[in-house]
Symmetry: D4
Subunit: 180 residues, 8 copies
């Protein structure tokens, strides 16, 4: 396939600080073939970039959601999932039920997958009931999407409160933290 | 936590073309609460960006690896995995053994995790033998990392040839395609 | 059991080129007991043959489906699954939601299992709702079967567009590529 | 990708008898769109063919292996796996240990993956010890490959006897049945 | 397979013959502590006994089911599961869809769990719809129970035909073989 | 628990009393087709019987093992697994480490699979190191087999003490309870 | 995050008897760095405490449930799960169906997660049908919660009787044992 | 079993504040049978108590570990696991490799299971190599135990740095935060 996404000359300069050379070894042996690795560098025309919440931002958002729940004496778990579906932060609140951990992750996953609150998505099942059979999803209120320039970059999920509406209120408190 | 990664004013403008508004619905119902979603937009200070191979580039690389194998009459599977550990491309070559599919994915995953060829990483087990117990990894030659500005962004894995050295030679052919 | 499928004298001559002798070793040791292996050769009366898409054809079809989606600014994942249920090709499109990867595979699996588009199969659930509990299936529009002489040999699945009908339109574009 | 495997004009005429049209419905609804399905028929140039043991042959082989074990008062499980890695036949012998079922499947899978007896493959681990970390494999004697024209088409695995050598002797009895 | 294990007039004398002492070693080392093991022998008051199909009987039943399907040109998989939920026999028929393998096992499992045909059990979901959420079950016609003195000892499952009623007809043919 | 199921002088009369007819419905609907089910009754020639610990005996044994550990101030989990590999009893002792639960089950599974204590089986790995790759097994001291007439019918596994030898001593205390 | 739960000066004195020092080694090596471990001791302000059933109490409850079932000639499995979702006790009754084991665990898990009998929770699905998609749950009657001072600390689940109401009656017999 | 752990009259008063009554419903329906639930309250003699880190403490510790890594320009994931093996907090650091997430959880799990740093535990494999086959464990430096009065209550795991020693140094920074 020959056509390529062209992102322009300024692309591809992200995340280069730090110790990636060293990171190449989680074992203590020195890097074996730096020259070979250098050759592997992809040209800009082969790249696109995606936005992610920093871990600091994601933690702040999760803590804000948890605090919102604690203010109402609710015991919940909070999760933040990125647009790739990977879990970034989990916080299991004191006394939260055992079902809340996986539920929070799945609500977050569902919200970021369709870029909509899970309360809205649950309503859509009336028209496409089998959506809920997609692995990793959970169509229960309590998940809220996070966007950057309108595009989905993360989801925040909360589970454990007596109703999904409460869970989602807390998740939205987490989202609001990110817009400050 | 209060300090935040500051990426500067030009950050966070990626991947906004297309139909993300519409993407919020894989069901046919119209988006329910656009105003609420708009509020969720994260500020720049909460974001960092990562590089990814375009699907066109990843497919080209995988095909280059497969062609290199076919030229030597080898039956292999090729996989490309991104830095988040997600599989981006798989190509199961005609007549490749059943074990080659998952092997190729795991070699790619291992190469991108430590930013080194799996032939090099396999050697490191002498010092840290339990590295190979990490889920999703496979310490067999045949995986090669892809970088952008030196940072790992993907891995290419090949499996099915009579030796891991051959597999890795084909994987490197895929990497070389990206540097053109 | 004594009766056997008789396929005639011309059967069983497929896929013999290449390096299968060598393939017997993914480790570098030489083959140990060629004589013993030779004795294992099954007689024609014990064999039947099945058709598969070549990896070139399957890749072309997947790329055609992805291009059809890109033309309409949709972010999707495409998968091709063979009649044995094995994934042959996956292409995760740039910016496709995380749920799209497994969804595409399952739609393809479902289409090849019943040799019908998943939009049609979803309609059948009205009569046999528990069909959707079969592991590996997904009864959402977006999967299309591929046949050879009318018999199912593969499925193409697409996921990530705002509606299943769109997904299936792209999948059919992939199927059409194979009839050229 | 433009070049295609050319198999010649006689290819692709297999397995068309029977009720595949009907097979498209495991639900009782009539097939919805035969015209559309007809269009999906792949051209010959897009196909290759693979050999498989008929279920009658595979059952005969498994029974022969089980009988060989019973003659020596051994309690074993027997499995036959095809070149795609799918299990075709399993026979859990009376009184065989619980570990024997999955072991037999994995030995068969390993034998067909590398087209060699697992007793030979276990020896190769001295040079490539991490081969045994490939999912689905088991490097214990007791698995034997089945070929057609020298190419691997299936594996037979036996487990449960006091030694792997005994297991493999029984597996070879199954292979021998197919050469008759 | 026509010959059957002859157990004599006393039938069902429990499995004590054979080589269980030797079975204690799947490795080649001699048994280490026979005296200690001898002490472990449980007294009769601590035991109950259960009935199982011999592997010969289970294979005959599975083959009878498969032949019934072949007579009607249906491509199916057949499975036999015992009262402990363990799979005893699987036969994947030539050309059966990939979904049929796991489906057949689950139908057999469901039939033996509730000692009723799955066509009957599917009807019961009207009153207890969540029964179908029990892991390992499948509430689709095609599973039939096998009893001994009225108590459930096994299930036979068939999957792949155009309707569950056909599948179950073939499964019943397998059951009938056991009553001869 | 001190009282035991008294089965009378004939011991081990096979489990035909009770409510199996009723058991056929875990849903509240009445049994649909008793006549059809009656036909399914397998003839004696198709059956063999196996011995199992009664749940009372298995519980007594597990409690004896746990008490033996408590006497030495050890925090452990105890499991009993039958010859089919199914878990019959688990007791997670107060304060036992999280790893002990699955460990105890696997030790019991391993002991009953090869009818030997796991301390002995661990020693055999010197000759057949890949035995430990069989799914479900764990080659650590702490598992002991239970026999009836010398044939393996169950395993008892203990995990959580500072050494496997201690674990196995407690498991043997469980076995001894069954010989009383 | 700076505010902390303050539990008062008397907190944190639980479960210190026994051999935890020794427990740090399931291998036979002596503890390596006691001083370092001593530094890790968390201050009271960082702790909260939770209640658990002792294994003796949990076993008594499970046995009471099983006896209640046996009195009515029902064959069931009983499970006790704690508030963290971990299984504490399982007892597989003689002749209980294979589906009963996992069902009992999930009913117990569901009851403790929402602190309500599963018969009540099943009714709630009318309003929130997707609750049942949460992993690990089963919304079938037969699970009963156990509390301490009104807070949920465990669940008891029973499965295998002809109706969920019977199962739950037996589970309640187990709960009642704990209130004595 | 009659003897019970006696904890004294002051036991069992933990975690009763909040909204547990309401927590019994994650669905919006009102609680159905409060009287019945009240009867389930377990007596003190049936209880023991365990210590847990508050979510605030666990988050502080995880953040301390992450900051320690960031100060040295290392990209890591941090996890906190409680004594029941449940994950309490995860923080995936910016740019951490995909393998680091599960690795961090497993290191924490291993540390709390044996109440020792994983660097020490890895050394013990010389004597008991099969310890590392216990599911959920990872014997790589980077996990540190957290205690209360000397008993293990949690583990902190870090993964992603170039060496396990670095990972463990960061984990110990997290532990130190809890002793303040």
């Amino acid at each position: 396939m020959k056509k390529k996404l062209v992102l322009g000359a300024t692309a591809a300069a992200v995340l280069t600080a730090g110790t990636f050379g060293a990171v190449s070894a989680s074992a203590s042996a020195p890097a074996a073939a730096p020259a070979a690795v250098a050759k592997a560098d992809a040209t800009d025309g082969n790249l696109f970039r995606s936005n992610h919440l920093t871990i600091e931002a994601a933690t702040d958002a999760a803590e804000a959601a948890l605090e919102a729940a604690e203010k109402e004496n609710q015991r919940v778990t909070v999760a933040v999932v990125d647009r790739n579906g990977n879990t970034v932060v989990t916080l299991r609140g004191d006394g939260a039920g055992p079902q809340s951990y996986e539920s929070a992750i799945r609500k977050a996953y569902t919200a970021v997958s369709w870029n909509a609150p899970t309360s809205v998505l649950a309503g859509r099942l009336a028209q496409a009931p089998n959506l809920k059979d997609i692995p990793g999803t959970l169509f229960l209120a309590g998940g809220a999407p996070v966007t950057a320039k309108g595009a989905p970059i993360a989801g925040i999920g909360v589970a454990g409160a007596p109703s999904g509406d409460l869970d989602e209120k807390f998740a939205q408190a987490g989202v609001a933290e990110l817009a400050k």
